[in-house]
Every structure is written in structure tokens, then in C-alpha cells.
């Protein structure tokens, strides 16, 4: 179909505590360029760990115990993420892979304006840019996510939850990365706002053509928006298939349990039937 962007082989993460927690076990995964991969599973199954682990964002006591992650850059170069040293990793981050974090209130520095937090990214990764250029880039980003450049001077708490989430998305977009990992970007939000943000993400993806890993445990939502869905349970990917296949023909027992756990919105009363 499409060519691969990220190849994950036999990837395991252990929290080296007593007793050790094997949060991600031998995950093998191919991420295709431009697709939306939904990652679902009950809470605590290792979704966040996997997503963070891919770009080695986990702090000790987390240890990657096996596997490899290879990033196929659009320039044609293959980057072996697990071989990078700290400085290379720092450069790699955000430039190639960016993230939208779970709680936007907590993901933004409460004492800095959103403008300065956005500029930060350029300052560090694009040292060549002038101050004016950075300003302009920030204004453009805020425009894109419909927060509006006039909000540049606002502090996070002055924005609504939805706006904050959009600022996070703007930040993730800043360097036009090839992969965006979104960890439950909408769970804290209202359905209406959630919908609006999803619409925006889809629009931006069409524009910029990045790949999305979308994490949530809201299966109905995932079924709607993803190309492919991976179902995780206790650190393992138990099923990985297209959304339709998952919906119509779930193979794993656990997937089936999940799918039978939400009532119908329309049609006859009762749990969803496939």
C-alpha cells in the first residue's frame, strides 16, 4: 500500500522496579506513511508506554529491553532510533516525531505564554531563524489551528481546554514532522469540542500529509477515524487490522469483549451489534 515510515520489531519496555513491570512486550509494528493508526486498550495496558518508548521519551526506571525502532526519513535515510545518543536524540525529537499529550493543561508550562512556548521549538531546532521569522511562524501556526495569532500572549490557563489542545497540536505541527503521536488528545474534552478537533486534525493531515498514531480507549471513536487499529492488552498487541476488519470480524476474544461493551446510539436499544 503505502511505504513504511516506522518499523518496530520485537519492541519491549520494562519498568525496572521491584518487581519489574513488563509494560510493553515484544511489539512488532509497521507504520505506513500517511496513515492513522488507532491504538486502543483498557487503561494501563501500555499504550502510553509504547508511544513514548518509540522515541525514547520514557525516563528511568523504564528500560527498553529488546527490539529496534527504525525511522525511514523522507530524505531516504534510515534512522535507528535506539542507536542515537542523547544529543542526536534531542535533535531528532519533534523534528521528525512530535507528540500531543494527554492532558493539555498539564502539558503546557503554566507560567509561560503560549507564544513563547511555541517559539521555543524554533529557537532550539531552527537556530537560524530570526526573531521576526519566529513570530511569524508562531502566528501562522495559531492561525492554522484556529486559535488566532492574537492569543500569542495568553497564558495556558486563560484558554479553554479545547484551545489548549489546539495549541498543543500547533506545537506538534511546528516543525512539520512526519509522525505525530497523539495520546488521548480528546478524552478530557466535550464531545462537541472533541469532534471539532478531530475535524481539524484530519484537515491538517490532508494538508501536510503526516502520519498519526492515535491513542484512546474510546473504541467507537477509533473505529470512525482510523485506517488501522491496534488493540493492546497487557503490553501486547493482540490484534492489528483495518478498522473495518476489527468491526466486522474481530478475531481476538478481548477485542470482542470491548466491542460488546457500549450501547447503541441509534437503532434498536441494546449493545452494538456487528
Amino acid at each position: 500500500m503505502r511505504d513504511a515510515l516506522l518499523t518496530v520489531r520485537d519492541f519491549s519496555v520494562v519498568y525496572d522496579v521491584d518487581p519489574p513491570v513488563e509494560a510493553v512486550k515484544n511489539v512488532t509494528l509497521d507504520l505506513r506513511r500517511g496513515e492513522i493508526l488507532g491504538l486502543a486498550g483498557e487503561s494501563g495496558c501500555g499504550k502510553t508506554t509504547l508511544a513514548y518508548g518509540l522515541q525514547r521519551l520514557l525516563k528511568a526506571p523504564a528500560v527498553i529491553t529488546s527490539g529496534s525502532v527504525v525511522f525511514h526519513d523522507s530524505s531516504g535515510e534510515d534512522i535507528e532510533v535506539d542507536r542515537l545518543d542523547a544529543e542526536q536524540m534531542r535533535r531528532f525529537r519533534w523534528d521528525k516525531i512530535s507528540m500531543v499529550f494527554q492532558g493539555a493543561m498539564n502539558a503546557l508550562n503554566p507560567v509561560a505564554t503560549i507564544g513563547s512556548q511555541l517559539e521555543d521549538v524554533f529557537e532550539v531546532h531552527r537556530p537560524g531563524m530570526s526573531r521576526a521569522q519566529r513570530r511569524e511562524a508562531v502566528a501562522e501556526l495559531l492561525e492554522i489551528v484556529k486559535v488566532g495569532p492574537q492569543r500569542r500572549r495568553s497564558f495556558p490557563h486563560e484558554l479553554s481546554g479545547g484551545m489548549r489542545q489546539r495549541v498543543m497540536i500547533a506545537m506538534a505541527l511546528a516543525l512539520r514532522p512526519q509522525l505525530m503521536v497523539m495520546d488521548e488528545p480528546t478524552t478530557a474534552l466535550d464531545v462537541l469540542v472533541q469532534r471539532e478537533i478531530l475535524r481539524q486534525i484530519s484537515q491538517l493531515r490532508r494538508e501536510f500529509g503526516f502520519t498519526v498514531v492515535f491513542i484512546t480507549h474510546d473504541l467507537p471513536l477509533l473505529l470512525e477515524i482510523s485506517d488501522r487499529i491496534a488493540i493492546m492488552r497487557e503490553g501486547e498487541i493482540v490484534e492489528l487490522d483495518t478498522a473495518e476488519q476489527i468491526w466486522t470480524n474481530p478475531r481476538d476474544e478481548y477485542t470482542r469483549t470491548l466491542l460488546s461493551s457500549f450501547p447503541r446510539l441509534t437503532g434498536e436499544r441494546g449493545v452494538v451489534a456487528r
Binding site: R93, W94, N106, N109, P110, S160, G161, R195
Partner: protein, 357 residues
């Protein structure tokens, strides 16, 4: 207070965002009501403190003349009455009358004369001592705060390293009695090693002037007391900052900063420490307020001129005017420090600007 705003019907629910109930926007940026409330609050505190400060000393046993006689044994006890009228203590006004008069004088900036200091105006007496207290202790407090906070940030950041040992060490230094520390410091550095003078603010025969020599002297003389104050108070700042750092380091925005590829120093100072320092500001303000009163022991041990000894002596000598004067300075500085803390906090933490409660 504004009236209930009629809410216009919302066309597009999505546009509204999460707050389905619109907060009335465009209210004045300056929260006058809040400020007025704070001002009333502070004025009340000031009034109450001054009133207490007026009545408390007058509940003490003994009076200033007896004290004067015991200090000046060459003065004939037979002259007690003459002295009483000389010192203005022969009035038979009621306490309430005196209180009202005190306020009258206070509002005119007249703090009376100090019996203990040759009947000089209290303003002059305090004016001579205050700069030294504020200078030395203020400086030491700032240094201690700065070192403690920066150190605490680093210790918190490099948790688990050998630096962790600094916390118990500084705590220990903070718990040993200050005078002990001071006396040992003098014994070691002044008497045995001779590196520093034994005390005083500057050398004998010097008169204050803006010369290099004088400033050098002031620094030389102030170094040991300042250093002991810093040592004794460092622990609190360091521990506070370190604990806040540990809390802040687990916040998402620190992880986000790292995910954004920020260099370590930037994450440490701009993200983590910048947030962790906020609660320190409050304590700092309070400690600034207490500088004025809290240094009696240092002044005794290091023969340093200052307000603390002034207060102690005034209390012992029943020098009401001077006591009240020093109280006033302490009260004012605590209040001013509190106001400054309010302002600084609002300035440093944008969140409080809105949701002050």
C-alpha cells in the same frame, strides 16, 4: 457588581468551546474590588498591630525612671521625680488619652523621643540602626535565598546523586542554635585565624563615606555575620526548592519540554525551576518581613548595629516610644513584604492574576 448578563443564543455550539456557560467577558482588567478588599484587610491588620503594640508594653512592671536610675547609678535616687518630669513621664493622662494622642502624633510622623538614647527622636534612632539591619540581614537573606533556591533546584534535578547529602547537612546547620554557630565562627575565623574582625559594622575611627576603603571595611566586617546567617538559613530554602522541584519534575510540561528536544539546561531552568520557585517567593516575602526583628542574637554576637538589639534594650528599659517605633517598623515591613509578595506572586504566576480568592 455587574448585573446578570442575558446570554445571547448560541448558534454554533462548537464555537463556544468547553465553557458552555459564557463567562461575562471584558470585565475590567484591574480588579478594583479585590484591591480595595486587600487594602482594607491590610489597614485593619496595621491598626490592630499598632494598637496591640501600644498597649502591650504598658502592661509591663516597673517604669522607665527606675530603669534609668539603675543604669545610671551616679544619679541620685532622690531625683526620681525630677527625672520623671524630665522624661515626660509625669503626666497623669489616662491610657486611652495617651492612645489617642499617640495616633495623633503617629499620623504626623512623630514617633516621640527615645529615653534610652539620649532623648533623641525615635525616627533618628531607628534611622541609624535600620540601614545596617536591612543591609546585612537583607543581603544575607537574599544570598541565602538565591543559593538555597538555585542549589535546591540542582539537588532536586540531580536527585539520587551525591548532592542529596547537602540537604541533611544544611538542615543540621539550620537546627544548631545560631549563637553557637556565631561564637564558634568568631573563635575560629576572628580569634584563631584572624581573617575577619571580631565584629562591628566597620573599623574604629572610620566615618561612613562613599569611599572604596569604607565600603571595603563594611564588606570585611559584614562577611562573617552574613556568612553565618546564610549558613543557618540555607537549609530551609534548599529543602523547599528541592521538594518543589521533585513535584514539578513529574509534571507533564517537563516531559513535553524534553520531547520538544529542549536542551537540558533549558528544561531545568525555564521549565522546572521557573515553576518550582513560585512557593518560595511567598516564604521569601515573609522572611524579608522578619529580617527586621529576627537578628538580635547576631547583633549581640557580632556587635553589629541594628534594630534587633535596639528592641531588646528598649524592652528592657521600658522605652515605650522606641519599642513602639521598632514595632511599627517591623509591622510595616511584614505588611509591605506581604503586599510585595502578593504582587510578585501575581506577576510571576499568571494563574493567580485571575483566580485570586
Amino acid at each position: 457588581m455587574t448585573a446578570v448578563q442575558p446570554r445571547p443564543p448560541v448558534e454554533d455550539a462548537i464555537e463556544v468551546g468547553t465553557t458552555a456557560t459564557t463567562v461575562v467577558k471584558g470585565h475590567s482588567r484591574v480588579p478594583w474590588r479585590f484591591l480595595a478588599g486587600r487594602a482594607t484587610f491590610y489597614l485593619f491588620t496595621l491598626w490592630a498591630a499598632i494598637t496591640i503594640n501600644f498597649f502591650l508594653p504598658r502592661m509591663m512592671k516597673g517604669d522607665a525612671v527606675d530603669q534609668y536610675l539603675s543604669r545610671n547609678r551616679n544619679v541620685s535616687p532622690e531625683a526620681a521625680d525630677a527625672l520623671r518630669s524630665l522624661l515626660g513621664l509625669d503626666t497623669d493622662k489616662s491610657l486611652l488619652q495617651q492612645y489617642v494622642e499617640y495616633w495623633g502624633l503617629l499620623l504626623r510622623g512623630d514617633l516621640g523621643v527615645s529615653l534610652l538614647h539620649g532623648l533623641r527622636p525615635v525616627t533618628e534612632v531607628i534611622g541609624q540602626a535600620l540601614p545596617w539591619t536591612v543591609g546585612l540581614v537583607g543581603f544575607a537573606t537574599i544570598v541565602s535565598f538565591a543559593i538555597g533556591t538555585i542549589g535546591g533546584a540542582i539537588v532536586g534535578w540531580r536527585r539520587g546523586s551525591r548532592l542529596d547529602g547537602l540537604i541533611p547537612l544544611t538542615t543540621f546547620l539550620g537546627t544548631i542554635p545560631y549563637f553557637w554557630l556565631g561564637l564558634l565562627a568568631i573563635a575560629l575565623f576572628s580569634v584563631n585565624l584572624g581573617w575577619f574582625p571580631i565584629g562591628k559594622a566597620y573599623g574604629v575611627g572610620m566615618t561612613p563615606e562613599w569611599s572604596g576603603e569604607f565600603i571595603g571595611q563594611v564588606i570585611h566586617h559584614g562577611a562573617l555575620p552574613a556568612a553565618t546567617i546564610v549558613l543557618a538559613s540555607l537549609g530551609g530554602w534548599m529543602l523547599g526548592m528541592r521538594n518543589m522541584m521533585l513535584t514539578v519534575l513529574d509534571e507533564d510540561y517537563v516531559t513535553v519540554a524534553q520531547a520538544k528536544g529542549m536542551p537540558t539546561s533549558r528544561v531545568l531552568w525555564r521549565y522546572a525551576a521557573r515553576n518550582a520557585v513560585l512557593p518560595q517567593i511567598q516564604s521569601f516575602a515573609l522572611s524579608i518581613g522578619f529580617i527586621v526583628g529576627g537578628t538580635i542574637v547576631m547583633e549581640m554576637v557580632f556587635s553589629y548595629p541594628g534594630v534587633g538589639k535596639l528592641l531588646l534594650d528598649a524592652t528592657n528599659a521600658k522605652d515605650y516610644a522606641l519599642m513602639q517605633g521598632v514595632f511599627l517598623v517591623i509591622t510595616l515591613s511584614v505588611l509591605v513584604a506581604n503586599i510585595l509578595a502578593d504582587v510578585a506572586y501575581a506577576f510571576l504566576d499568571p494563574r493567580t492574576r485571575q483566580t485570586e480568592g
